[in-house]
C-alpha cells in the first residue's frame, strides 16, 4: 500500500533533435500538486511527538516535497489532524478546513483523529470525518513514521490519479513475529 507504480501518463518521444513530451493537463497538475504539498499541522495531542520525529532529518519528509509547514490555512493544502479532537475543538477544526483553498486534502494522523480511539465518551469527537471529509487515515497509537510515509505516499498516489475516495494505511508485518520464530527454533532472542 502506498507505493507509486501506476501507469505513467507522460511519454518522451525520442528521435527528434531535442525531444518533447506529451501529457494531459490534469495529469500534469496532479503531478505538480503531489510534490508540492504545503502542510497545515493541526497538532493537539501526543501524536504530535511522532509528527515531530517524522519531520526530523532522520526521516526526511522533504523527499516528498511536503516539508513546508504553513501556519495559515489560506496558504496550505494538506491539513494534518494530529491527535485527539474534543467536541469543544470541533468548530475550530471545521473552520480551519473551510478557510483552506481548493484543492485541499485532509490526513487523519493516529487512531484518535481517525475514530476517537479509546476516548469513547461525551467529550471527544469520534473521528474527524464526523465533521470534515478525510482523504487518508493512518491508524496507530501513535503511528510510526514509516506508517505515516505510507499514508503520505498513498495520498500522493491518490492526488496523481485524481481519486477522492478515502484510503487507509494497512498495517505492516509485525516485527514481533521474528522474535517468536527465534523462540520456536531454539535460537536465543537478542536481549
Amino acid at each position: 500500500m502506498g507505493e507509486v507504480n501506476g501507469p505513467t501518463t507522460t511519454r518522451v518521444f525520442e528521435g527528434s533533435e531535442q525531444g518533447f513530451a506529451t501529457t494531459r493537463l490534469d495529469a500534469l497538475l496532479g503531478w505538480a500538486r503531489k510534490y508540492s504539498l504545503f502542510m497545515y499541522p493541526f497538532v493537539t495531542a501526543c501524536c504530535g511527538m511522532e509528527f515531530f520525529s517524522m519531520t526530523s532529518p532522520r526521516y526526511d519528509i522533504a523527499r516528498f516535497g511536503a516539508e513546508a509547514p504553513r501556519f495559515s490555512p489560506r496558504q496550505s493544502d494538506l491539513l494534518w489532524v494530529v491527535g485527539t479532537i474534543s467536541q469543544r475543538q470541533a468548530p475550530v477544526l471545521k473552520r480551519i478546513y473551510e478557510q483552506m483553498l481548493d484543492p485541499k486534502w485532509v490526513l487523519a494522523f493516529g487512531t484518535c483523529a481517525s475514530c476517537g480511539g479509546f476516548y469513547d465518551n461525551y467529550t471527544t469527537l469520534a473521528g474527524i470525518d464526523k465533521i470534515i471529509p478525510c482523504d487518508v487515515y493512518i491508524p496507530g497509537c501513535p503511528p510510526r513514521p514509516e506508517a505515516v510515509f505510507d499514508g503520505l505516499m498513498l495520498l500522493q498516489d491518490k492526488i496523481a490519479r485524481g481519486d477522492r475516495t478515502p484510503g487507509i494505511v494497512k498495517p505492516r508485518n509485525d516485527p514481533g513475529g521474528l522474535v517468536q520464530l527465534g523462540h520456536k527454533t531454539g535460537t536465543k532472542a537478542p536481549a
Binding site: 465518551n121 469520534a126 487515515y137
Partner: protein, 189 residues
C-alpha cells in the same frame, strides 16, 4: 499524627462535626454543609491549625445515598506540617438542591476547583465570584460526571456529516466499551 486536629474541631464545633475518622495517617472530618465556610475559616485562622494551603477540592457522586454528593476538600499546613480531609454531603436523590458555601473568600485558589466541581457534578457554590463551566462548553446541558449521565452521550457543537461510511478496521463501535455501561439506579455503590 494530627488526631489532635480532630479533637480541636470537635471541641470547637461539637455537633457540626458529623463523624471523624483517622486511618493510614490521614484524618477525615465530615461536617454539616451549613458550617462548611465557618469551619474552613477557623482552620485557616486558628494558630493550632494554620491551614494556609487548600490542596484539592472535588465532588463525589453516590447515587444511592441521600444526600447524594460528597464534596471533599484537602487541606495542608505548610508551617505545622499536617493535613486534614474535610467532607460534607449535599443534594437530594435527584441531584437538586446541591448548594454549598464557597470557600473562595478563604482560599482564593479554590476558585477553579469549585468551578470544576460545579461543571462536572452540578454542585452550586453560593458566593462564588464567577461560577461558570470551566472544562465543558457553555452550551453543554447537564453535568457529565454524575453517575446517571450516559458516558458516551456527546453534545456536538457542529452538526455531524452524513452519508459516509467508516472504513475497516474502524467502525462506529471501535474503541473500548466501558463507557457504554448503563448505570442502574438502586445498585449499591
Amino acid at each position: 499524627m494530627s488526631q489532635k486536629l480532630l479533637d480541636i474541631l470537635k471541641a470547637q464545633f461539637g455537633s457540626d462535626i458529623l463523624e471523624t475518622k483517622s486511618e493510614h495517617g490521614d484524618d477525615t472530618a465530615v461536617v454539616l454543609p451549613g458550617s462548611w465556610l465557618k469551619i474552613a475559616r477557623f482552620l485557616r485562622d486558628d494558630s493550632r491549625c494554620d491551614m494556609q494551603m487548600m490542596v484539592d477540592l472535588c465532588g463525589v457522586d453516590y447515587p444511592s445515598r441521600e444526600p447524594r454528593f460528597e464534596v471533599v476538600m484537602h487541606l495542608h499546613s505548610i508551617n505545622l506540617r499536617h493535613r486534614l480531609r474535610l467532607k460534607t454531603r449535599v443534594g437530594d436523590a435527584e441531584g437538586d438542591g446541591a448548594e454549598l458555601d464557597s470557600v473562595v473568600s478563604v482560599w482564593s485558589g479554590a476558585n477553579w476547583f469549585e468551578r470544576e466541581t460545579f461543571d462536572m457534578m452540578g454542585v452550586v457554590f453560593v458566593g462564588h465570584p464567577d461560577l461558570r463551566r470551566i472544562l465543558m462548553y457553555p452550551e453543554f446541558v447537564g453535568h457529565p460526571l454524575r453517575k446517571d449521565y450516559p458516558a458516551d452521550k456527546a453534545q456536538p457543537l457542529v452538526p455531524f456529516r452524513e452519508g459516509y461510511e467508516k472504513l475497516p478496521p474502524f467502525d462506529r463501535f471501535e474503541g473500548m466499551s466501558f463507557g457504554r455501561q448503563v448505570f442502574r439506579s438502586g445498585k449499591a455503590d
